[in-house]
Symmetry: C2
Subunit: 149 residues, 2 copies
DNA sequence: AATGAAAACCCCTCTTT
DNA sequence: AAAGAGGGGTTTTCATT
């Protein structure tokens, strides 16, 4: 997949502000709005553009504890089953099958530490095959960005 | 901060598709576009809505290796300095100061394992105060979502 | 790959309820 | 908190180059 300088300007703009008017980007790069449209269709068709989202700040709704949890499984064969359970837990916002110590590595968003403890004890630990977990609480997140175009 | 059912519908729509027309949301909830606008201004002023972004799929540009790296620091006092260096590394897309084993925990996006090795050896390990790192490569990410509204 | 034109639609604000 | 109206800009498509 090859993208040129104009594609980069389009992407940079929309990755920063998904509601940036196509026409204002058109004026910035010096081509017509129709051409930007055509390029956006191309970028969507290629799969590079996956979608767009509004970003919310969880803290404003009281979700102040972000944590990473490494999960040990009894047998690797239970991954699929465990994943199905994890998907049902709203607090789990990322899940990865990883190399290294853990079998599964998840990112969890909770209101506070007590809420996190509930999720760990009542939900995660209750999943069949989960033998042990290790938790890292994020005290300060200073970088949060996407691929640099 | 209190949000009602209408706010939730607005947020759910825009969190899924940041370019969803305000007027189509208005029709869905059965109030005027002006009212949606007013609510959006309120949600922005409260800080709940932080912004919007286009989401890109890094794999399409050849970035196929996602990894988490736990970083050990010699002395906690070097956190600020280390963070400054981390911000300069484009491949570092998240950075957290964490409880537990590590001092800093980062998420890294690379083209491949070789690229990851370069970033680890030539960039991360070169940061003053970094004594050791532990790497977890994500082989399969199956959950990636925001706070459930 | 880009253009200009055109119709439909939407954004946004203001005033009023 | 919401409605209605209105001007002006934007989206989107199409034929054309």
């Amino acid at each position: 997949m090859h993208i040129d300088g104009i594609d980069k300007i389009i992407l940079k703009n929309l990755m920063e502000d998904a509601r940036a008017p196509i026409l204002s980007i058109a004026r910035e790069v010096g081509i017509s709005g129709a051409a930007i449209h055509q390029r956006l269709r191309k970028l969507e068709k290629s799969g590079l553009i996956v979608g767009s989202k509004f970003v919310v700040n969880p803290k404003v709704l009281g979700f102040k504890t972000l944590a990473f949890v490494g999960i040990f499984l009894d047998a690797a064969s239970t991954y699929k089953e465990a994943l199905k359970r994890l998907k049902e837990i709203d607090e789990v916002i990322e899940s990865h099958y990883t190399t290294g110590n853990y079998a599964i590595f998840v990112k969890i968003l909770c209101k506070d530490n007590e809420h996190l403890m509930q999720v760990l004890n009542k939900q995660i630990q209750g999943i069949k095959g989960v033998s042990r977990t290790e938790t890292f609480i994020s005290l300060d997140q200073q970088i949060d960005r996407q691929l640099k175009i």
